[in-house]
């Protein structure tokens, strides 16, 4: 029975790491701008679709990956420049609708540019499952874990050790003050979208061998990524990773021990339950309202 448990855990970790990568993108943009970007899933889709279609057309894999990352970043920058920045002072809900509009737009574009088929990428390190204590794990899952782990380390370094990263954090805490000490707030916002789109593309590329991709793949990933980011506490990278893993593992354990039909419902129940007791998520900033 332990083997079964371990298998559920692996299943949950695989899904969870995917959600975590998606959630991390939400966290980065939120950190710099307090914007929730509901088009985050589309960055992931663009990364996956661009790579898969280019590889299928004969482009060498590394070139395809680099181009896909560049394409996604370009889309992220354009989104910030033309849709978010002009509306920077608008209501939270207004910006939510803008990003949802952007996600619909990007999906529509992807469907025209590419097609509606599912696309696959070959696994990076083959398809031989790794057996561990009676359970198995695909090598590609390790790639996802690795990328998620690497992303969190790099982001930590970036936000805590580089001047630009610190500037980004400062902007999120107090935009006016940041401006006063000479931080280019516009540049920071632009960079946050570029960074998050880049991360999304990387995520899309590493998960495509597991989940495949099509023009609508961003919907589910966006939704789960948002859940992960909120559960972990908005704006907290580690939180997003932990949140993603919890959602993934909860789903897998629910499938295994309770009911696979209700696994998503159970995951959402857990999120609700956590929020009832920790209204700012697991690692979110708690604080008393200043009046």
């Amino acid at each position: 029975m332990f083997a079964a448990f371990l298998q559920y855990l692996f299943s949950g970790l695989t899904s969870g790491a995917i959600y975590a990568l998606a959630g991390l993108g939400f966290a980065i943009i939120y950190n710099a701008s307090h914007v929730i970007n509901f088009a985050q899933g589309e960055f992931i889709m663009i990364g996956g679709m661009a790579t898969a279609t280019m590889v299928a057309a004969g482009t060498p894999v590394p070139v395809a990956i680099a181009l896909a990352m560049a394409a996604s970043m370009l889309v992220g920058v354009a989104l910030e420049k033309f849709a978010i920045e002009p509306a920077r002072n608008a209501d939270v809900v207004t910006i939510i609708i803008i990003t949802i509009g952007a996600s619909i737009f990007l999906r529509g574009g992807a469907q025209l540019l590419w097609d509606k088929e599912f696309h696959a990428l070959p696994a990076f390190s083959g398809e031989t499952p790794i057996g561990i204590l009676g359970a198995t794990l695909m090598p590609q899952s390790l790639w996802v874990f690795g990328v998620a782990g690497l992303a969190i380390v790099v982001l930590w370094w970036f936000f805590n050790r580089t001047l630009f990263g610190k500037a980004m954090l400062a902007t999120s805490h107090n935009r006016l003050a940041a401006q006063l000490v000479g931080i280019g707030v516009k540049k920071v916002l632009l960079a946050s979208f570029a960074l998050s789109a880049l991360l999304g593309a990387v995520g899309g590329i590493v998960v495509t061998p597991i989940t495949f991709t099509n023009y609508e793949a961003g919907i589910m990933l966006g939704l789960k990524g948002f859940s992960a980011a909120v559960l972990g506490g908005l704006g907290n990278g580690t939180g997003a990773i932990v949140g993603g893993l919890i959602v993934g593992i909860a789903e897998a354990l629910a499938s295994g021990y309770l009911s696979s039909a209700y696994k998503d419902a159970i995951a959402f129940l857990i999120i609700l339950f956590v929020l009832f007791f920790m209204p700012s998520g697991l690692f979110g900033k708690r604080g008393t309202d200043r009046v």
Binding site: A4, Q7, Y8, F10, S11, G12, T14, S15, I18, Q111, K116, E117, F118, A120, E127, P129, T136, M138, V207, I210, T211, F212, N214, E216, A217, I219, M220, E251, A252, L253, S255, G256, S260, A261, D264
Partner: protein, 384 residues
Amino acid sequence: MHNLVKWGTAAVVAVGLCGLAGHARAADPIRIGSTLSVTGPASFLGEPEKKTLEMYVERINKEGGVLGRKIELVVYDDGGAGDKASTFTKRLIESDKVDILIGGSTTAATMAAAPLAERAEVPFISLAGAVVVVEPVKKWIFKTPHTDRMAAEKVFSDMKKRGITKIGLISEDAGFGKSGHDQSLAVVKNYGIEIVADEVYSPKDPDVTAQLTKIKNAGGVQAVFNFGFGQGPAIVTKNFKQLGMAVPLYQSHGVASKDYIRLAGDAAEGVRLPAAGIVVPEQLAATDPQKLVVTAFKKDYEAAFKSDVSTFAGHAYDALQIVLAAIKRAGAVDKAKIRDEIEKTSGYVGTGGLVSMSASDHMGLSPSAFHMLEIRKGEWALID
């Protein structure tokens, strides 16, 4: 403020009406209306269906049309949603004044549109799978796809031949898989087979090893049957191999396209599934009456769209052919006469099989319409 509200609203209404009323009405062509799931989760049904209808309507018009009249095709995208299908069907009937309806890629869309076609007395050939479309028989409603029950029966009879008595069922929780799941449960006992594990997954789940592990550990499972379409079955297949499950894996006709093999890769080796002859025209026996039809259709489709033909494209082809034949027999574009002639369709050789409808059978596909295929070395192999 008064004027503002008034003019604002008036402008909105005016813009809306202009948009809605923008259809010119030439009296000549025969109008065929379709609501299809061109986008959304069922787009891999609606997309090839739409392409097929457009391609053949264009071809027929080039050849002079039917009864000397051109055919005008109006397609709306319902995204697989019942309420949209209902509104678009009303639009087709009322505004576009179509003579015949083809469509409803999904069962939900069909069932939402069906009462409208009944009330307006417009012949309606559905492209949806579930048996509820034609059972009980509704006067104006027909369908061309095989039912999910037929697919389940084909699979279970193959299992029975191999002496399998205990299986695990894993299905997608959306329309196609859910309906297939229910039909499977309804007929499985007739084959002396017991379902010992019954799991579901969502169409976009990245990993289903948890569900499969549960099936694996259910005890005595001799085969696993997956009902679903899209990328789900490919993930099931890959996870199945990952877990090293040694029992046979069956898929439904929902994945009878090359895309499935392409996505699942090596993991698809040995998977069996029921499919119509269209998938393997070259392997059909020379005596098979379908051979000519499906070979020609596959060639046309793949030449036109540079993508593999799917069973679903065939459903649209069959629907169009049945309708055109009925119009020719009726000799006039009279909805009631066309309906009667559709019902009299007999011995039509289509991509799905031989079709002979009757007052009590508005599908008319013989059970032999399905073949059992196995995937060997990345290719389909006809085994039955």
